[in-house]
């Protein structure tokens, strides 16, 4: 009992000593402040007006009312596509050619007539779409255009159909048009048919942000991962320079794990602060819990690595590779499929993939426990052998 208390006391003393050693350096403080500061800046960036695509619209001066109406509806759209009005079709084409905009729509002078022709089957096309390269984004943008045109198309289609019937019934066409307009207005369904829900965040609120801040969580997880790896390299350097022997007299046990935990935990708090100030995270308690699990998982992983690799230079060479592997294989920007065996080895994977998933958060906890146990066990076994 007394022995156990003494080990704990020694561990706590070492932990405080190492933390103090890190925090004594102004450069470490600089980084700790830099992370939330950069995250906050990224959060502000996400709040600014930004778009995935920029598309031009050109309606001829003598273009009809319907074309103007559709163009104004598109201009009012504040989604992923930004629309700009052009005075000439040539300018729109020129800007597309020079890559200043992604493409655009050239409305014909007889837009309404063409719309009717489309319904009657006498016309094939409605507008000219100018684009350099047809990307999936542009295809999605065209759906948005169709979404703006469709209410007018639908109105014309049902009216036209009623007019066909009116002829058979011997009804006055203008009267039919008026009746149909009234009935269309009366039956208008304005409510959206779809409601959006974020998986795992149905109750807790999903935070704020934009696609620009979407990779921030991944960046912060990689930062914590890097802190753990850097601490492991620091540990190997201390071992090489004999500082470690002076600090640890006797068996190592959990001390290497504790050593790596000092810096990783501080980095974890900085990352957590970054997540909160950028307002991209969910509830603070959920984020804090997941961040602590990530810190433990990274500490365990780095401890194992520090036991398997003895030369700081070799570990130093591994760090950029591991970080790149983390950036590519963990869902920071991409979703890589078919490499699960490698992905599961990297601590940020379960943290990033498991946001909002109890199952994957449990896997993260299991990973943290298993890697920490492996690290501590390896350190103890190697220390005994020495």
């Amino acid at each position: 009992m007394r022995g156990g208390r003494s080990v704990m006391k020694r561990g706590w003393l070492l932990y405080r000593l190492l933390t103090k050693r890190l925090l004594k350096r102004p450069s470490f403080w600089l980084i700790l402040f830099l992370v939330p500061l950069l995250s906050a800046a990224a959060g502000l960036l996400g709040g600014q007006e930004s778009h995935l695509l920029s598309l031009g619209l050109y309606v001829p001066e003598n273009g009809d009312r319907l074309a103007v109406q559709v163009a104004s509806e598109l201009l009012e759209n504040d989604g992923a596509v930004e629309y700009k009005m052009f005075d000439s079709g040539e300018e729109l084409r020129r800007q597309t050619a020079f890559g200043q905009i992604d493409g655009g729509y050239l409305f014909p002078e007889d837009f309404s007539a063409r719309l009717q022709g489309l319904i009657d089957g006498t016309e094939d096309t409605l507008v000219t779409f100018v684009a350099g390269e047809d990307t999936p984004w542009l295809k999605a943008a065209r759906e948005q255009f169709f979404g703006a045109v469709f209410p007018h198309l639908s109105r014309a289609l049902s009216e036209g159909f009623a007019l066909e019937q009116a002829e058979e019934l011997g009804k006055d066409p203008s009267e039919t048009v008026m009746e149909m307009e009234k009935l269309y207005e009366a039956n208008l369904v304005e409510e959206e048919l779809f409601s959006l829900s974020v998986y795992g965040q149905e109750d807790s609120g999903s935070g704020q942000g934009s696609y620009l801040t979407a990779p921030l969580r991944g960046f912060l997880a990689l930062f914590v991962f890097l802190a753990g790896l850097a601490m492991a390299m620091f540990l190997l350097k201390d071992k090489k320079e004999g500082v470690w022997r002076w600090l640890v007299r006797g068996r190592e046990g959990a001390l290497p794990w504790l050593y790596i935990l000092t810096g990783t935990l501080i980095a974890g708090f900085a990352a957590f602060a970054g997540l909160m100030v950028s307002r991209t995270g969910g509830s603070w308690y959920g984020e804090l819990m997941r961040m602590l699990l990530l810190v433990l998982a990274v500490t365990g992983f780095s401890t194992v690595l520090a036991q398997l690799i003895s030369r700081p230079a070799v570990l130093g060479a591994c760090i950029p590779v591991l970080i790149l592997a983390g950036a590519v294989l963990c869902p920071v920007f991409l979703t890589v499929r078919g490499m699960e065996a490698l992905q599961y080895l990297l601590p940020p994977y379960f943290y990033l993939a498991g946001t909002g998933s109890a199952r994957l958060t449990l896997f993260l906890a299991l990973y943290a426990a298993a890697s920490s146990a492996a690290g501590i066990g390896l350190a103890a076994a190697l220390s005994r052998r020495r």
């Binding site: 992923a80 979404g147 019937q165 009804k171 009935l183 998986y199 890589v336």
Partner: protein, 406 residues
């Protein structure tokens, strides 16, 4: 000169570890690229957005609708639907096998017939603001408009037909439905696509070519820790006492590091040149003769002194290994993000796009892109020189302060 020679020797000693690291970096990138390309090319569902369908899809009209969407709709090339149980859909979403799923309420079709419109829930992954989620959201809005507007049109006609005593209403409504299908399903054909002839703007491949080069040599700074960090500062003082001041020390170290970077640049360029297939994927490089390629890569190398000076400067700010590595990581990530290495720069607000051109990494991107487009690159080249001077001056000031302080 002696100090520079000593630094060159140190740089040469760092060659093997840096080479191994860079090789491993290239191997990781290459493996993932090849793996992804193979698995994508092998699938027909390349670039398709996969959505799950959960809930009451038993209705025959609903099934028919889904079949029509999958086989005849304009979206069939970009969307794929899979019928799943809710637990399976959750699992697939967690594993990122699907981009989201639609939860269809019970008696959905009946509610649409009756105009009550039970809401379909679109469940997206936790990356709420990812580009994919935005696409799903936009598509849901458009589909919603198509369904509700069609409903409105059909109900308006039905009411009119009833009021006017039209016969065979059921058949008429069916015909009207088919007319709607005729308009909706081939909707991608309503555009006359016009591609402007001359297009001197950069292709997507060219864009990512410049981003990859920048990332590779920007992050090379992380491998320089053993070369740049010196715990024992007495050497600096000793050198200073012997007349080799801070400026000379910094320039010697920077020069040696730049030479090491240049060696890697030659290796990377040679490897890229050897892999003709990889380079031919970049339209701007297609058809370039070997001499033309060598000339292009040689001019591109002007980015190295600036990136080398940035590496030197950052290693001067921090003295500790952990601090240096973390600081470098934060700065490189931030700069490359703002330069548009991860998202195309056009995705950013205009103010950021303008500012990016003046930031170090943005200047490199502008320089390489100007070269790829075959345009004059004098302005970004001047920017590179200016940043090199700024970083070297910064490194000099810090080194001098250190020498004086100790």
């Amino acid at each position: 000169m002696n100090y520079f020679r000593a630094q060159l020797k140190r740089a040469a000693r760092s060659f093997i570890p840096v080479f191994v690291t860079m090789l491993a970096l290239a191997a990781v990138l290459g493996t993932v690229c090849v793996w992804q390309m193979r698995s994508r090319l092998g699938e027909e569902s390349r670039q398709k957005l996969v959505l799950g369908l959960v809930g009451d899809a038993s209705d025959s009209f609903f099934r028919l609708g889904m079949e029509v969407i999958e086989s005849m709709d304009a979206s069939r090339y970009s969307l794929e639907f899979v019928q799943l149980k809710e637990s399976e859909a959750r699992r697939a979403l967690e594993d990122r096998r699907i981009s989201g799923y639609l939860r269809i309420p019970e008696d959905f079709v009946e509610s649409v017939w009756n105009g009550e419109n039970e809401k379909v829930t679109v469940v997206v992954g936790s990356s709420r603001y990812s580009v994919t989620t935005l696409l799903v959201e936009e598509l849901a809005r458009v589909v919603s408009s198509m369904i509700t507007e069609s409903q409105t049109g059909i109900y308006a006609y039905t009411d009119w037909a009833r009021e006017n005593g039209a016969e065979d209403l059921d058949e008429s409504v069916l015909r009207l439905n088919l007319k709607y299908f005729d308009v909706i399903l081939p909707r991608d054909g309503i555009y006359q696509v016009d591609t402007p002839d001359s297009r001197p703007s950069l292709s997507l491949q060219g864009y990512y070519f410049s981003a990859l080069f920048l990332l590779f040599f920007l992050f090379m700074g992380l491998t320089g820790a053993s070369f740049m960090i010196r715990r024992d500062r007495s050497l600096y003082q000793l050198l200073s006492a012997r007349g080799r001041g801070a400026a000379s020390q910094v320039v010697s170290e920077w020069g040696a590091w730049c030479i090491l970077m240049a060696v890697f640049f030659v290796l990377v360029s040679a490897a890229a040149g050897a892999a003709q297939g990889a380079l031919s994927a970049v339209p701007e490089l297609e058809g370039l003769s070997p001499a033309g390629l060598i000339r292009l890569f040689a001019v591109m190398a002007l980015m190295l002194p600036m990136l080398g000076s940035l590496h030197c400067f950052l290693y001067q700010i921090t003295e500790s290994l952990v601090g240096a590595v973390l600081l470098e990581f934060c700065v490189y990530l931030g700069l490359s993000y703002l330069a548009g290495c991860f998202y195309p720069l056009t995705f950013f607000p205009e103010s950021i796009q303008r500012a990016s051109a003046f930031l170090p990494a943005g200047t490199v991107m502008a320089y390489v892109q100007a070269l790829l487009r075959g345009e004059g690159a004098a302005a970004p080249a001047l920017g590179l020189l200016a940043w090199t001077a700024v970083f070297l001056c910064g490194a000099f000031v810090i080194r001098r302060a250190r020498i004086l302080r100790s």
